[in-house]
């Protein structure tokens, strides 16, 4: 009991004392995950829009595929890209394994299904008259699409927050693709796993608190955003 309270105290000291090693890990985590979400979002919104408003063969199959990928374990995503990026793999020449870009690729693959599935459902639930009204008021396809995204913004933002929440806390893909290299690819979840395996809990608890605080913040934001979403007839 004493050691838990000691570790927690140490964790708080590390966190609020501005420990450079700890904050570097937090920085890497946010840099990688924010880059991944920034790259995945435009693609995902485009796909979601196509699935919600496009009519093409295989559309339903694609929706089912993205919904299935929602439950794809992070470690399997890590394994898939590990095989692709490893020296003998088809993308081995890129020499990306154990780099931040590899972690970003893995996190994009994890975030994309969430962004697409939630984005699709949000766009699909938007009144179809919104699109028709934009078009009949003289908006081109692109402006109409942006209008629709504005109408569905609360749902799309919820998708964004959920996607970010998933990738910032995932350990499997980051560990396998990043290699947990200090000062380079060690992020919050991989550092927690490492510190715990060494029996040193202080840093793990400190990083866990960061993840917890972030989860709280994201959920708070989500509540705020969903509370503001008002259906307009």
């Amino acid at each position: 009991m004493g050691s838990i309270s000691d570790s927690t105290l140490q964790a708080l000291t590390l966190l609020f004392g501005g420990d450079p090693g700890l904050w570097e890990i937090i920085g890497i985590s946010f840099r990688v995950s924010l880059t991944a979400i920034a790259l995945a979002t435009p693609v995902a919104v485009g796909i979601a829009f196509l699935l919600a408003y496009g009519r093409f063969p295989g559309r339903r199959l694609l929706i089912t595929a993205f919904n299935t990928l929602l439950s794809f374990p992070a470690v399997v995503v890590g394994l898939t890209f590990y095989i692709l990026l490893s020296r003998q793999g088809p993308l081995g020449d890129w020499q990306l394994l154990f780099t931040q870009p590899a972690m970003i690729i893995g996190q994009i693959a994890l975030a994309l299904p969430i962004l697409v599935a939630m984005g699709h459902s949000s766009l699909q639930s938007t009144d179809r008259r919104a699109w028709e009204t934009a078009r009949t008021l003289g908006a081109g396809r692109m402006r109409s699409m942006l209008t629709l995204m504005r109408e569905a913004r609360f749902g799309l933002l919820a998708a964004l927050l959920a996607g970010f929440g998933r990738i910032i806390a995932e350990v499997g893909a980051s560990m396998m693709l990043g290699g947990n290299i200090l000062h380079y690819t060690r992020n919050i979840p991989t550092a927690i796993a490492l510190e715990t395996s060494k029996g040193e809990f202080a840093q793990g608890i400190a990083l866990g608190l960061v993840l917890l605080a972030m989860a709280f913040l994201l959920n708070g934001l989500l509540q705020l955003v969903q509370g503001k979403g008002r259906p307009v007839a």
């Binding site: 919104a130 008021l137 504005r150 307009v232």
Partner: protein
């Protein structure tokens, strides 16, 4: 655009035939009423004319130039505006909605919005969020927004449905002004009496065919179109 003529309109939904060889003509400053029972195809016809619903077949003549509907779609979208029975207002204020179809400088847009608000008697509601408006106010906002876009043809789907007498009268007055400005109006309605002072003709859509309420089936003389297919021509 002075005249819009749409001929040989055919539309099926699945096996259900909605429109069969329908011809309709609209001239600037003219107001037509379109009646028919629920599901007769009034909204479908309006949406086809607005360039929003693809027909199985249709030829469109705008100011004498004949095109297939697909080629004319862009022009239809530019010249016509369609107002839903329950108009969709974008989330935000009345001002945001009125600003939507406008282009040009901020000052010019602001002047047009003020003009629209004064014209429709909605000046007090400019900053009001649209979800706080009554049904009648929403309908008027949609009408002003459509007017600000400056279309040549306005296609209105039950514009006075669920309105009280005063609100209906106000909307009819606005439509009369639009007609006076040279806009062509096609109004789908179950209540033709409300528009008796505005409209010249009443058409009835029945079993996929369009009939003049007074004369029976609409018959237009025949002519050969530039695309080489025989269609019934305009008078």
């Amino acid at each position: 655009m002075n005249q819009l003529l749409c001929r040989n309109i055919h539309k099926k939904f699945g096996r259900r035939r909605i429109l069969e060889d329908v011809d309709i003509s609209l001239t600037a400053g003219e107001c037509l009423l379109l009646c028919g029972r629920n599901g007769a195809g009034k909204s479908t016809l309006l949406r086809i004319l607005a360039g929003m619903e693809r027909p199985d077949q249709a030829d469109v003549t705008i100011d004498g130039t004949v095109r297939r509907w697909r080629q004319a779609k862009k022009r239809l979208l530019a010249e016509c505006i369609y107002l839903h029975q329950q108009p969709y207002l974008f989330e935000g204020s009345v001002r945001y909605n009125l600003n939507y179809p406008l282009s040009g400088t901020r000052v010019a847009r602001e002047a047009r919005i003020r003009e629209g608000l004064d014209w429709s008697g909605l000046a007090d509601l400019a900053e009001q969020p649209v979800h706080q408006l009554s049904g009648g106010e929403r309908q008027r906002v949609a009408l002003v927004r459509a007017w600000l876009r400056g279309p040549r043809v306005m296609l209105l789907d039950e514009p006075t449905a669920n309105m009280d007498v005063a609100c209906r009268q106000r909307t009819v007055d606005l439509l009369r002004t639009l007609k006076g400005q040279g806009m062509a109006l096609l109004i789908a309605t179950h209540d033709p009496e409300s528009f008796s002072g505005v409209s010249e003709r009443t058409m009835v859509l029945h079993d996929g065919c369009l009939k003049d309420a007074d004369l029976g089936l609409t018959e237009l003389p025949e002519k050969v179109t530039p695309i080489g297919r025989r269609v019934r021509g305009t008078a």
